[in-house]
């Protein structure tokens, strides 16, 4: 039994990696055979070469973007927690503001971003604001929906034990909403890097977004792809960190 589950685990880990490796090799081969120009589609080996060559510059840009993304992410969490708790407490406010929240999310952020530049300048503020807006929604939705489905009978049980409202909140509502909260966080954290990159496109001193624009403007496709690789790796890593934290914080929550 034990052996077979561990081989399944091993399979889960090895197979996707193997597939990606094969895909990269295949791309390399196709580009080589079809003789595609590097400025149209660079070979994976060139992209890796660029990553190594530009590592110092890229590292600096990466740090900037991560800082913006995390700052925005944290602010989004704080705002989402406050607003969802208020909306859960005062149903009328939820009735009024929840639809507005949904509508606001359908506005294409990329169209508004230039305006943010006018409002908030070329500094870090614009980027953080964009990240907050992008991250806020999935977190607040997960919290509001999560709080709404907390088992009323469990709350009644607490009431029958003459629990104070704070006890009901901390001992029932908070833990009950955690799984939904972490689902929201996982989505939001992957958006956060993207949000920062989009904001940087419009103008920045440093960051993966500005590096990307420069690469595009000078037709350095290999640099563009190097940048994309970093965005992917950083986003996946952040996702993994949140996932790990969730599992540590919710030992009772298995599966999914």
């Amino acid at each position: 039994m034990k052996k077979s589950t561990s081989t399944v685990k091993l399979k889960e880990k090895i197979l996707p990696g193997l597939f990606i490796t094969l895909l990269i090799l295949f791309t390399e081969l196709v580009i080589q055979i079809a003789d595609i120009k590097a400025y149209i589609l660079p070979k994976p080996s060139r992209v890796i070469g660029r990553l190594i060559e530009d590592r110092d510059v890229l590292w600096g840009h990466t740090v900037t973007t991560i800082q913006e993304a995390l700052l925005g992410f944290v602010i989004a969490i704080v705002l989402a927690v406050i607003i969802s708790v208020i909306m859960n407490r005062y149903k009328l406010l939820k009735l009024i503001f929840y639809p507005v929240l949904v509508i606001s999310q359908t506005v294409p952020i990329i169209a508004l971003a230039p305006l943010f530049l006018v409002w908030f300048g070329f500094g870090i503020l614009t980027k953080v604001v964009v990240v907050v807006i992008v991250c806020f929604f999935p977190i607040v939705v997960s919290l509001v929906e999560g709080l709404a489905v907390v088992d009323q009978d469990m709350i009644n049980l607490m009431k029958s034990l003459k629990a104070k409202p704070l006890d009901v909140f901390l001992k029932v509502q908070v833990p009950a909403v955690m799984p939904a909260f972490f689902s929201g966080l996982k989505i939001a954290v992957t958006y956060s890097i993207m949000g920062a990159v989009i904001a940087e496109w419009l103008g920045a001193q440093s960051g993966l977004g500005i590096y990307m624009t420069r690469a595009m403007n000078s037709f350095k496709a290999d640099a563009l792809f190097a940048d994309i690789v970093i965005v992917v790796v950083v986003s996946v890593s952040l996702f993994r960190i949140i996932d790990f934290a969730g599992k540590k914080l919710m030992p009772w929550h298995k599966g999914e």
Binding site: M158, K159, S160, V172, W252
Partner: protein, 248 residues
């Protein structure tokens, strides 16, 4: 009198509807008595308990606990729901000590108080386990232990074994009877299972269709301790027949 319902009526008001649930209910329960309440489903049995636990807090008439009106009384009553309502995020140990923690006990002291009971409730060795790792019967026993940990001599049960299969239900009934002996608790037990009511109770109160009124108050004269074979005795079946008729 331990518990007394005096002319209790309750109507729920919806947005454009009203639901008259209880109509002039009068019930008296003596100290140490085990009283079951049966009635058609949806007749408002649970509402009686919701009033007592103050989950629902407005009604007409009065409920007295030990002679003191519910509103003035700060008496705690323990309440067990049909669902086990164990919190998935608390281990069994932390679930069963919840009432003690809420009443202001320190965690360490609460653990110590509950310690001797694990064995009695068939939960020893499972203290550190999360509820979702237990079977339905064990979860219900844990819920029962939590109910016993409430520092109160009044216990309210709202169809506690309804979601359990027949074999385990009988075990749990037996278990409840054994646990109740020597605890001197006053119990209100809601069920739709007539047999269960007869088997457990000193007295059975039959409620009518909604709006519920008391239509019968039956004293169960079976000797204690109750044993399985009694369920087949003539006296038992006579009571059962009478109750079935009353419910129709």
């Amino acid at each position: 009198m331990k518990i007394e319902f005096r002319n209790v009526s309750k109507t729920f008001y919806g947005e454009d509807s009203e639901l008259e649930t209880l109509n002039n209910i009068n019930i008296q329960i003596k100290e140490g008595e085990f009283v079951s309440i049966i009635g058609p489903s949806g007749c408002g049995k649970s509402t009686l308990l919701h009033l007592m636990t103050e989950i629902v807090d407005s009604f007409e008439g009065d409920i007295l606990i030990e002679g003191i009106s519910l509103k003035q009384s700060d008496k705690l009553v323990s309440y067990m729901h049909q669902k086990d309502l164990l919190m998935p995020w608390r281990t069994i140990k932390d679930n069963v000590t919840l009432p003690l923690i809420l009443s202001g006990k320190k965690k360490k002291d609460a653990y110590k108080i509950v310690e001797p009971y694990y064995k009695m409730f068939g939960l020893d060795g499972f203290e550190e386990v999360y509820p979702n790792e237990l079977s339905g019967g064990m979860r219900q026993r844990a819920a029962l232990l939590r109910t016993f940990m409430v520092e109160s001599d009044i216990m309210l049960f709202d169809e506690p074994f309804a979601a359990i299969d027949a074999i385990n239900r009988h075990k749990l009934q037996q278990f409840l009877l054994e646990r109740c002996q020597g605890f001197n608790r006053t119990i209100m037990f809601i069920t739709h299972d007539i047999e269960e009511a007869i088997y457990l109770s000193d007295r059975i109160i039959v409620l009518s269709q909604r709006p519920a009124t008391v239509i019968q108050d039956v004293k169960i004269e079976l000797e204690r301790p109750r044993e399985k074979h009694m369920k087949l005795s003539v006296d038992f079946l006579k009571i059962k027949e009478m109750l079935i008729e009353a419910l129709e």
